[in-house]
Structures are given as structure tokens and as C-alpha cells.
Amino acid sequence: MNARFVRVAETGRKTFPVTIDGVVCEAAEGDTLMVALLTTVSALRDSEFGDGRRAGFCLMGACQDCWVWTTGGERLRACSTPAAPGMSIVTRLTEGEGIWPRG
């Protein structure tokens, strides 16, 4: 797993576990869900239009690019949702799921 974001400040914070695609990873107190994910992996989701991975765009709740799925089937806007202990996020569509137009 390659991280996308690089922590350059506020690095001494306490950490807690979150699960990304079944793998337990560390997030830091005060992280948004987006930062918790992208400091461990390189993308947040698959485009529903078949053009690849997406990792957010505006970070201020305007573009809606960063909505992710929880394993429980809930959707969260990663840039404006604080990461919380025990969160479990799925960044990949299962095969045949969700790509538009559907064959």
C-alpha cells in the first residue's frame, strides 16, 4: 500500500486503528477520514464511470469526489468527516458493481 498524503506537521498525535479494505491501519487524533485513508493508501474509491481510481479533489466539501463506503453500507464524505476509532472503509468496488453504463 502506497500512501498519497505526506504528514509534514502535527506528527506527535495519539493514534487509533481504522480498517481499510480489511487491513487494520493507524489514524491520528484530529485526522479527517480522508487524511486517515490517504496517509496509508493512494485512493479513496473507484470512479463509477470506469475511468480509474479517485482520491478527492477540493477538500472543502464542494466537489463531492471523496464520498467513501463503510463496510456497513453507509456513505461518508471523507474530507469533512472526522476519522473515528473502529471505522471500516471499503475503497474498491467488487467486480461488476457500479460501473456505468452497465453492460
Binding site: 498519497r4 506528527t11 484530529g30 478527492g56 466537489c63 469526489d65 464520498w67
Partner: protein
């Protein structure tokens, strides 16, 4: 004056509007989407973070501290609804959602301080993971202590291009290049207007020194060609054509893009405000008078959400709109003339910035057919041109209906301006004739299961 005054937004404009209202003995309701006040420019870091105001806001530290302290002191005299989205406005009423709770509030006066986002121009490959807006790259650093990549290229134009690059350098992040579409000559032409606020001009020059000291390559007059990358791995590099025609490529894993700012005008639109085409900035803006009165009685617009003039101007236009609302309600107010005079300087400076860092009008028309215009739904420039050519869609909303450009997740925030230029060029009509995408409620996604909150 009836007590029902609502301020939307808790950035510099909203905070100063609320301060003026509370100072006159009113109790405004301040509604803000953020978890904390400050807006985007003076965004506060999460509780428990330790960087100082100087580290976070640089030369604007004192202003940020003042806006935050003002808001902290107002808290007992206002009704503050953070993490609350205004998703629609009907006559005399704002419709709110917070989490899964829905309710509506009536107003006699509404001051909309909805702020701005980056203005974007499509470039081949901008859908690749690792492409961010300049504002987004700044939010990552300011509010989360992160760089958006290990090696970042900043591309576009505008003051934010140099500000974010310098902030990344100061934070120890690697900036591989600053690629500016505007030219040195354009900057020179803007000098007389920029001298209307000399302090801001010097701050801009100081940013350039930071970048030069760090030996960050800066190229002006570039023409963006491609953000290179793969669908699975994301960004791997950037290619531009330099002013002398040579190709310039740089490997990187992140690109921050932006061409100045565009106001968030959906709420003004839903409130029924009239818009006009602003030739200077080549975009549709809600009409206001000098003090922020819109065309709708009782609705006032302030800050960068009405017209982009920057945070210092936003503080003043927020206060001025509140004074205008109180004057319209028959209250005695003071200070309007001073604020108007100060704002004229900012208006002149903003015009200078537009001359120095112009929106690259014309670039959209030459975007190749295979470039995505709509990164939400992967719709190409070629498809948009096809609906203009074959379906005769020469108007923005019609072209949206046929092509879906502007219908995706961002609701046209990031494709709308360039899309309109592509339509205009394909239809051989002036940009103003293409019109603008109508604001639609909800302005952002709502949860499927909403519960009406009857306690409010």
C-alpha cells in the same frame, strides 16, 4: 427591526456581519457548513493541534486571530449552527440539514456569505488520483498538517498559486515546479492597479523570494498539455508547453490546480437573485448594489461568494451588508461611507489581480476532444461538442441535459466555466449567450433518510 436575521457562512464576511448585527443588539443566527468557524481562508485546525497562528496563516496571522477572537466573543450573543448545510432557499425561508436532521428557518433579512472555490480549467489527465485544487492542497496543509503528495507541482494562475507553493516549501514539502499560465508582461501591466494596496503587492513579492531561495523552478506563460498518470496509480507527471514553445515535463505524484477563484452563487440563485455577465472576470455574478443588496428584498450578498475580492474585502463587505440590512429596517447605522471607500481600493486591487493572473479564456476552446471536461462522470470535450453540433444545444442548461456535463457530483462547480466556453466556441456564439447553469436544490447531496427536527 424584526429579530429574524440569518447569516450564512462563518468566514471573514459572515463573522463581521454577525458582529455588526450583534453590536446593534440583534441576535442573528449564523449557519455554517464547517465544524469550526473561520471559513476556508482562516480555517481553524482541529482541537489539540499545536501550530501557532504565524505558522498557519503567515502574514495574515493577525487577521485570522482577530476574526477567530471576534467570533469566540460573539458566541453567547448569536445562535450558531455549525456543521449545518443550507440546501435550499424559498421565499423568506432557509432549509437546513445537519447530519440526518432537517428543519427550516424563517428570515426577515438574509446575509449570504457563501465564499468561493477554485476556478478550474480542464486539462488532459486531470481525473487522475493525485490531482487536487490549489485550495484543497492548502486545506490539507493548514487544517491537517499534510502535503497532498511527496512531490507536488502547482499549476494554473493567481495569487493562490504562489501562496500555496510558498506555504508548502516553508512546511518542508517538496514543490517540483510552479507552472503559471499568465505572463510577466501581464503582471507588469497590472502594476498600477496592484499599487492600490501596496502591502499586498509586497507580500506577493515575498512569496516569490521564498520560492527562489528554495530553487523551485517557476515558469510563466505556460500552456498546460497533460497531467500524466494511470487510472490505477494516479498522477506520475506534468507536461506543459513553455512560452518559447518548448515542451517541459516534470515527474511528480501530485498536482495542485487552480485559476483564481469563483464565487459559490447557488444559494443566491435559489433565493431568486438576478445575475449579470461580468465581462472583466468572464463569469455570471449575482447583481448587488455597492452595499451588498441583491435584487431580492431582504437578501444581501457579501464576501467572495458575491464577487472575489479577497478576505480583507470580505470582512468589510460582510459588515457593510449587515449595516445595509439594518438601515433598510429603519435602524440608525454608522460607518457605511468609510466601508464603501475602503472597498473601492479592494475592487481596484482585485481588477489588478485579474490583469496580472487572467483566467486563460480561450484555452477551453482548444482542449482536445479526448480530454474530460466533467471529471465527475468522465464526459469528454468531444461529447460536449457533439451535442452542440448534432443536437443544437447552444445554451448551458440544454447542453447539460444532453451531455450530462454539469449534472454530476460537483453540480457544475468545476466544469461549468470551461464547459460554457467549449459550448460557445463550438456554437460560434459569445460566452454570455451560452448563459449559466441554473442552481438546483439540494446544492449538495442530502442523506436519503431525513428526520424533520420539530424542536427548532
Amino acid at each position: 427591526m424584526a429579530a429574524r436575521v440569518i447569516v450564512i457562512g462563518a468566514g471573514p464576511a459572515g463573522v463581521r456581519a454577525a458582529q455588526a448585527l450583534a453590536g446593534a443588539g440583534l441576535r442573528p443566527t449564523v449557519i455554517d457548513e464547517g465544524r469550526r468557524d473561520g471559513g476556508q481562508i482562516y480555517r481553524r485546525q482541529p482541537e489539540g493541534f499545536s501550530r501557532t497562528y504565524d505558522a498557519l496563516y503567515g502574514t495574515e496571522a493577525a487577521r485570522a486571530a482577530s476574526v477567530h477572537a471576534t467570533f469566540d466573543a460573539l458566541r453567547s450573543r448569536i445562535d450558531y449552527l455549525p456543521e449545518t448545510l443550507v440546501w435550499n432557499i424559498s421565499p423568506g425561508m432557509v432549509h437546513l440539514v445537519s447530519g440526518t436532521r432537517y428543519h427550516a428557518l424563517k428570515f426577515d433579512a438574509l446575509i449570504v456569505c457563501s465564499g468561493a472555490t477554485d476556478r478550474l480549467m480542464p486539462v488532459k489527465g486531470w481525473q487522475h488520483a493525485g490531482t487536487y485544487t490549489l485550495g484543497g492542497a492548502q486545506v490539507a496543509l493548514k487544517s491537517q498538517g499534510c502535503a497532498v503528495g511527496a512531490r507536488t507541482v502547482m499549476m494554473g494562475t493567481g495569487p493562490l498559486l504562489y501562496l500555496v507553493a510558498a506555504q508548502y516549501v516553508k512546511a518542508g514539502a517538496q514543490v517540483c515546479a510552479v507552472l503559471d499560465t499568465s505572463t510577466a508582461l501581464q503582471r507588469l501591466r497590472a502594476l498600477p492597479a496592484l499599487l492600490s494596496i501596496p502591502a499586498s503587492l509586497w507580500k506577493g513579492l515575498a512569496l516569490m523570494r521564498v520560492l527562489r531561495r528554495a530553487k523551485v523552478p517557476i515558469h510563466r506563460g505556460v500552456r498546460p498539455v497533460e497531467i500524466k498518470g494511470t487510472p490505477q496509480g494516479g498522477v506520475t507527471g506534468v507536461a506543459v508547453k513553455l512560452q518559447d514553445g518548448a515542451m517541459f515535463e516534470r515527474a511528480c505524484d501530485a498536482v495542485a490546480l487552480g485559476y483564481h477563484l469563483r464565487p459559490e452563487t447557488q444559494l443566491a440563485d435559489l433565493a431568486g437573485c438576478e445575475f449579470h455577465f461580468d465581462e472583466a472576470s468572464q463569469q455570471w455574478l449575482p447583481h448587488t448594489d455597492e452595499d451588498g443588496r441583491s435584487s431580492v428584498k431582504g437578501v444581501y450578498l457579501a464576501g467572495d461568494g458575491a464577487r472575489v475580492r479577497g478576505a480583507d474585502a470580505a470582512e468589510r463587505s460582510g459588515r457593510l451588508a449587515a449595516l445595509a440590512a439594518m438601515r433598510d429596517a429603519g435602524m440608525a447605522v454608522e460607518g457605511i461611507d468609510t466601508l464603501r471607500a475602503e472597498l473601492q481600493r479592494f475592487t481596484r486591487f482585485a481588477a489588478g489581480l485579474r490583469t496580472a493572473f487572467p483566467w486563460p479564456a480561450g484555452l477551453a476552446a482548444s482542449v482536445p476532444d479526448d480530454t474530460l471536461v466533467c471529471r465527475c462522470e468522465a464526459i469528454t470535450a468531444g461529447e460536449l461538442r457533439r451535442v452542440v453540433r448534432e443536437a443544437g444545444a447552444r445554451e448551458a442548461n440544454r447542453a447539460k441535459a444532453f451531455s450530462r456535463v454539469g449534472m454530476g457530483r460537483c453540480q457544475g462547480r468545476y466544469c461549468g466555466h470551461a464547459g460554457a466556453e467549449i459550448i460557445a466556441a463550438a456554437a460560434c456564439v459569445p460566452l454570455s449567450a451560452v448563459g449559466r447553469l441554473r442552481g438546483q436544490a439540494p446544492v449538495k447531496p442530502l442523506p436519503m433518510a431525513l428526520v424533520e427536527d420539530t424542536c427548532k
